[in-house]
């Protein structure tokens, strides 16, 4: 495996296109691009355009009014806060799980990866219901929680738990195939050279996986902010207090406030796009760094 791949395809796809060995005939290339773009238009662009068209149907004034309303602002804050807690938790887990699964062979690996995938297949409503069964006033820990006046569901901790559950697999599953593809030769070489575990991780593994990791974080974050079903069960829907953005969207929609509902939804889409802008900036700086290093040598 070639060592640290800092380059990125957005800029470096020409390294494939200029190489006769990794290049397809022009018609194949055009066909594939056409298929991808058609699929893109049909499945991604059109829904997004619909959201913005609906959001702006009553004009920009209504659009911004919908976003600056106190209920909307507190929903935005809450959503960001929940994601800010849930994503780092899953980040640490994802790295640990990927390290164990991708770098080592052990019995029960198949079982472990399947368990990591499992939260996806749990219907979000059931995911929420689990926490009601555990922490609801008639749940396993309900009486104890009530006695100690400590709230989990219908409060912030419940929202975080439900969000963590539905986004558990993202970062781990993003990293596992990548780290498997990279093998363990780089790390083993570092061991031979006498590096400690943390040194290996920081200086060898992390640079190798950083784009995969970033993708995992972006996906996890997008999903954490967009999650509806599970959160809806444990939220209690208290306006201005436990309503996240997706829940707020639903309430607005149910009140026939379509323009406002889509305005908040479009903001969720924009937040996701914002994370991708951040990604591009990080990439760009990485490349600047790289070319600076190359000039120095």
């Amino acid at each position: 495996m070639s060592g640290a791949v800092v380059s990125h395809w957005v800029v470096h796809s020409h390294r494939f296109e200029t190489n006769a060995a990794t290049r397809e005939p022009a018609w194949v290339k055009r066909l594939l691009i056409a298929i991808a773009l058609a699929f893109f238009a049909l499945f991604l662009l059109l829904p997004l355009a619909t959201v913005f068209a609906e959001a702006l149907r009553r004009g920009w004034v209504v659009y911004f009014a919908a976003l600056t309303e106190p209920d909307a602002r507190s929903a935005i804050k809450l959503t960001l806060l929940v994601a800010a807690i849930a994503v780092p938790l899953n980040l640490v887990f994802g790295v640990a799980a990927a390290w164990a699964v991708a770098k080592f062979n052990f019995r029960g690996k198949q079982l472990l990866t399947t368990l990591i995938d499992l939260p996806f297949s749990v219907s979000p409503v059931v995911a929420g219901l689990m926490y009601v069964l555990l922490f609801g006033s008639q749940g396993w820990f309900g009486a104890w929680l009530l006695q100690n006046d400590f709230k989990i569901i219908f409060a912030m901790p419940g929202l975080v738990l439900a969000t963590v559950f539905v986004t558990v697999p993202f970062i781990a599953r993003e990293l596992i195939p990548l780290m498997e593809a990279q093998g363990r030769e780089d790390e083993e070489a570092a061991v031979v050279l006498g590096a400690s575990g943390w040194q290996i991780f920081w200086h060898v593994t992390l640079p190798n996986i950083k784009w995969g990791l970033l993708y995992g974080v972006i996906l996890c974050n997008a999903r954490a902010m967009g999650e509806f079903g599970a959160v809806s069960v444990v939220s209690g829907h208290i306006r201005g207090r436990t309503n996240t953005m997706p829940l707020y969207v639903e309430i607005l929609y149910n009140e026939y406030n379509f323009a406002a509902a889509f305005a908040v939804a479009s903001l969720l889409a924009l937040l996701a796009l914002l994370t991708l802008v951040v990604k591009s900036v990080v990439e760009w700086r990485g490349q600047q760094q790289l070319s600076a290093d190359q000039e120095a040598t």
């Binding site: 060995a21 990794t22 290339k29 691009i33 662009l45 829904p47 390290w99 499992l118 996806f120 297949s121």
Partner: protein, 276 residues
């Protein structure tokens, strides 16, 4: 790579595995056991009659059938998508790349409403499809569209980093040995991508099985035809029938677990056979 004990020279295995198991137990296993125990408050006959009612069985078919099909569609198109994004440059690529994650960011209900608006009889696309005899909204085809939408990023984003990291030397070697482009892809590139592709497939499938919000708007929810299992769970909850709801949830969980277990086994197997 030499097989054998050598890999254990890497440190951190007990810590990484230990933490992984601890976290999974806390976040996934204990809560899921609550579902199993709740369903166990039914006796076997009640459980069986709940989960084997004809309508419920029909809904399994709809749910698992459309989920597998959608994951397969995403497998093919997601691979093309990732390939195009990594290997080619074309105008607007950054935008395309950025928007792939959209299905995660949109609340599922919004996605459902948007898709229905597009594919309904009076929608942007529906008005052209309907005269051709293609009804999308309010049919199983609508479910398929919604599930394809929510699953696409999984395949693209798992294949993309691996494809990016793929060593070009192997392809060059293949070409110098006289292989044509298709042979190179078929025998060199695809096997290297297969584990990632299978992961993406598994994730897209898993996500599709549990999906509710986006499907419900476009499905039409006709019993025995386009009714998904999660809707039946919700209607049980509407009657405050927690035990019945968890019973159906348990069946879904077990089936998904078995399917995912098989896919993951396949994935690990392809990975090992590639290492040799």
């Amino acid at each position: 790579m030499r097989p054998g004990k050598r890999h254990r020279v890497l440190p951190g295995f007990p810590l990484a595995l230990g933490y992984t198991l601890f976290y999974l137990a806390l976040i996934v296993l204990i809560p899921l056991s609550a579902v199993f125990l709740k369903s166990a408050t039914l006796n076997w006959e009640q459980f069986w009659s709940t989960v084997s009612a004809p309508r419920v069985v029909a809904s399994y078919r709809v749910t698992f059938g459309t989920a597998l099909l959608a994951a397969a569609i995403n497998g093919v198109f997601g691979l093309i998508f990732a390939w195009v994004l990594v290997r080619y440059s074309f105008p607007g690529k950054r935008v395309v790349d950025a928007l792939v994650d959209l299905p995660f960011a949109l609340p599922t209900a919004v996605a459902g409403i948007a898709l229905t608006a597009i594919y309904a009889g009076n929608g942007w696309l529906g008005q052209w499809l309907e005269p051709l005899g293609v009804k999308v909204a309010f049919t199983p085809l609508g479910i398929l569209i919604a599930l394809t939408f929510i699953g696409l990023p999984f395949v693209v984003r798992t294949v993309q980093p691996v494809l990016e990291d793929l060593d070009t030397e192997l392809e060059e070697a293949a070409v110098s040995l006289g292989a044509d482009r298709w042979q190179t892809f078929r025998h060199i590139v695809l096997p290297a991508l297969l584990p990632a592709l299978l992961t993406g497939f598994a994730l897209a499938f898993a996500r599709a099985v549990g999906e509710y919000g986006s499907v419900i708007f476009i499905a039409g929810n006709v019993p025995m035809v386009s009714e998904i299992t999660p809707l039946l769970i919700i209607s049980k909850l509407e009657q405050f029938d927690y035990a019945g709801a968890t019973a159906i949830a348990v069946v879904m969980l077990v089936v998904s677990f078995v399917l995912l277990f098989l896919i993951n086994g396949l994935q690990i197997w392809t990975n090992r056979s590639r290492e040799r």
